[in-house]
Symmetry: C2
Subunit: 428 residues, 2 copies
């Protein structure tokens, strides 16, 4: 139930530990089951989320009406929660042994608010280092996620296939518009000029590279480990007649070569892992001229150091770690004497993006299930609900950091020009 706990010492009864699969929902609820349920419900404090066993047993005593009921369909699912917390809950949802009636996002959000309160009360400060993403493992991690198939992502991403936080310049923007607005905001922050050379670490399906080349007249070299994405991006550039100015390279960011006017990476840093931040800093340093050049890092982050939710790590993003601004500044930028010009936190824009993605995923349930399987649909639905909740509760952040060579005085005088084309938004 918490974002950072480890397997409990509690041991299930022998039949459960033995993995008694196929256990019927009709199996009677025991006094042990009820005791376990009461403990789980108590850990959720005042979160308005009711947990019910397969016979309807609940211990919900919060004064508020629950936003959702988590239905635990069998004893095995109950013990998975006890033994593996978030991972057990997530995998139960994935398998279908656990279902949620009501507001899935609201339920996760309520639990995250409790977790956050517990954690804030417990002010120990820790730096957490994840397993190291060697080049071989990076390729495996990337394959795990992104090679699910372009057709799968096309069902619920925007029309440009942008799989990172959108920027709703006005709150009434559609997902398509907001992704275009994000691409353009990144270009404006980079202050691209026609004829410049840009290197991108992490292409996705190529939308930013194509946008930069088409609208800002720059040439782009973009690195990506996902074969299927690279093939898609190359085809796109060809169709747009931009293949003379946009090159997609199927390779690791650590193999970036050449000198460029600007370095950009959108949505890759959270997959790099802190052990490789200094190496990333070296890549940026050797990609820019010695006395000038600038860059932008766009990444999911934290307000304080913490590991990513273990279920998300296990099922969705192996090897991922969302860093704090200080972790990135200290390990990536400071050793290279790169100067921070601008940091913006777009947290609520990512909550909104996840909501738009989730609505599209839900609308495409039948196709997704046919194309893949029900487990994958449920996994992605929970992951998008959980991400939305994490951004809404402030459990995760979205940072854009703009930096420059320290002594480079070719700076914009203010940030005003970033906004002069944008309409005034209504308050969200």
């Amino acid at each position: 139930m918490t974002d950072h706990s480890h397997a409990s010492d509690a041991r299930p009864p022998a039949d459960v530990a033995a993995g008694a699969r196929g256990e019927s929902s009709a199996r009677p609820v025991s006094s042990t089951d009820r005791y376990v349920l009461s403990k789980i419900q108590a850990r959720m404090r005042d979160a308005p989320v009711r947990i019910a066993l397969w016979d309807g047993t609940t211990f919900y005593s919060v004064p508020a009406t629950p936003v959702a009921t988590v239905r635990v369909g069998d004893r095995r699912s109950l013990w998975r929660i006890v033994r593996h917390q978030d991972v057990g809950l997530g995998d139960g949802f994935r398998d279908g042994g656990i279902t949620v009636d009501g507001d899935l996002v609201g339920a996760v959000e309520a639990v995250f608010r409790v977790n956050r309160a517990v954690w804030t009360a417990n002010r120990r400060r820790r730096r957490l280092w994840m397993r190291s993403n060697t080049r071989g493992r990076s390729a495996a991690n990337v394959g795990h996620h992104y090679d699910l198939g372009n057709d799968f992502y096309r069902l619920w991403l925007d029309r440009r296939m942008v799989y990172t936080c959108a920027y709703y310049a006005t709150p009434d923007m559609s997902l398509d518009e907001a992704q275009e607005a994000k691409l353009d905001l990144v270009c404006r922050k980079l202050r691209l000029r026609a004829g410049e050379r840009v290197v991108e670490a992490g292409s996705g399906w190529g939308a930013l590279a194509v946008h930069m080349a088409r609208h800002y007249g720059v040439s782009v070299r973009s690195f990506n480990l996902s074969r299927e994405q690279v093939a898609y991006a190359r085809e796109w550039a060809r169709k747009e007649s931009l293949d003379d100015r946009v090159e997609f390279v199927e390779d690791d960011y650590r193999n970036v070569s050449g000198r460029y006017d600007a370095f950009v990476s959108v949505g890759m840093l959270e997959h790099v892992g802190p052990a490789h931040y200094e190496a990333l800093g070296d890549v940026i340093d050797r990609s820019l001229p010695p006395d000038r050049g600038r860059g932008l890092l766009h990444f999911i982050g934290r307000d304080r150091p913490a590991a990513l939710n273990p279920w998300i790590r296990k099922r969705v993003f192996p090897g991922a770690y969302p860093p704090t601004v200080s972790e990135v500044a200290e390990a990536v930028l400071e050793p290279q004497d790169l100067s921070i010009l601008d940091v913006e936190n777009l947290r609520l824009h990512y909550a909104r993006t996840c909501a738009d993605w989730m609505a599209r995923l839900e609308a495409a349930e039948e196709q997704v299930t046919r194309m893949t399987d029900p487990e994958l649909y449920r996994t992605w639905r929970l992951y998008l609900a959980g991400s939305q909740a994490a951004f809404r509760t402030g459990w995760m952040q979205l940072f854009q950091i703009v930096f420059r060579r320290g002594g480079d005085n070719d700076l914009a005088w203010t940030r005003g020009d970033l906004y002069r084309g944008e309409a005034a938004p209504e308050q969200a």
Copy 2:
């Protein structure tokens, strides 16, 4: 000559070591003097700055025309440079034993560029901790600088007596306009609403507190250790009939009490010292409601950790330390789970501010000299020239960090509204 070196091991001849005061400029230049000069000139590499001894001897061999000539008037001044580097050079200038013909700012800037190149080549990373600012020492440090007298600062600051980086929303703004624009930018970033309560750590002469109360309808409690500044600020608030809404407290920021909607500190953090960052974080935390509230820190900083120039520490700002963004984020904000929303670097605005201050100081040379003494005039002139050079070369930065309670979703949707009132600036 460098910003971080220690006294050299070189020893002066016995007559100099004995402090042979009153040495005449006519005293013949020896071969040792010439050797020492050649070494100093060599350390300055390709900086276009010529150093000349009292008989005119130089070793300048850079192809470019020098921007300035540093005249060393006697042997004692020469050996002070060898023994105490920046401190010796600064004190020599202060005493008048060293003079500069030509562009003072350009000369310091050229030397800083050499220092920066040397330092960048030498990529060791260090965290430097300055002497601890206890409450007693803080009071002494503040007194050292700010109690020079309001009349002194009035001669060269803007009409509101704002002694921090101005914000030239357009490059043609006067210093008066740019300081008002800065006060207003801070208010907009804080998103102040009428009726709210604000606590300020470090009042200066009261300009921000008065601006917030007058233009944003908030009530302000502002803490400051300088008696003379507090008296001035109280009188100002009284004249403006704002004394019911603006309270100036002559006390240390660590004694801040009460709960407020917003916390603001402009130009104090660089005097706090890293040993007290966690305490400052505690002050911010206990000043804001548990579940909401926001704040802004405006401070002179660095791209990587380094001590302040030792001469500036000795003669101008004892106990000061300009931190990196990561040092502030890690020690002030992260332990309190405060969320970074926005970081802006206004480095070139501070270079411009220092240029405006220096021009006003130079115009007031006669009055300053009469009111204080020539040493103080020369000290302040070198300090403003050096600061300007430091900001121009990227040796120092000016950061504004806006933060919020982590789970607080009462956020502006974009930053566009910060700029909608501002005219489009010409490129600087």
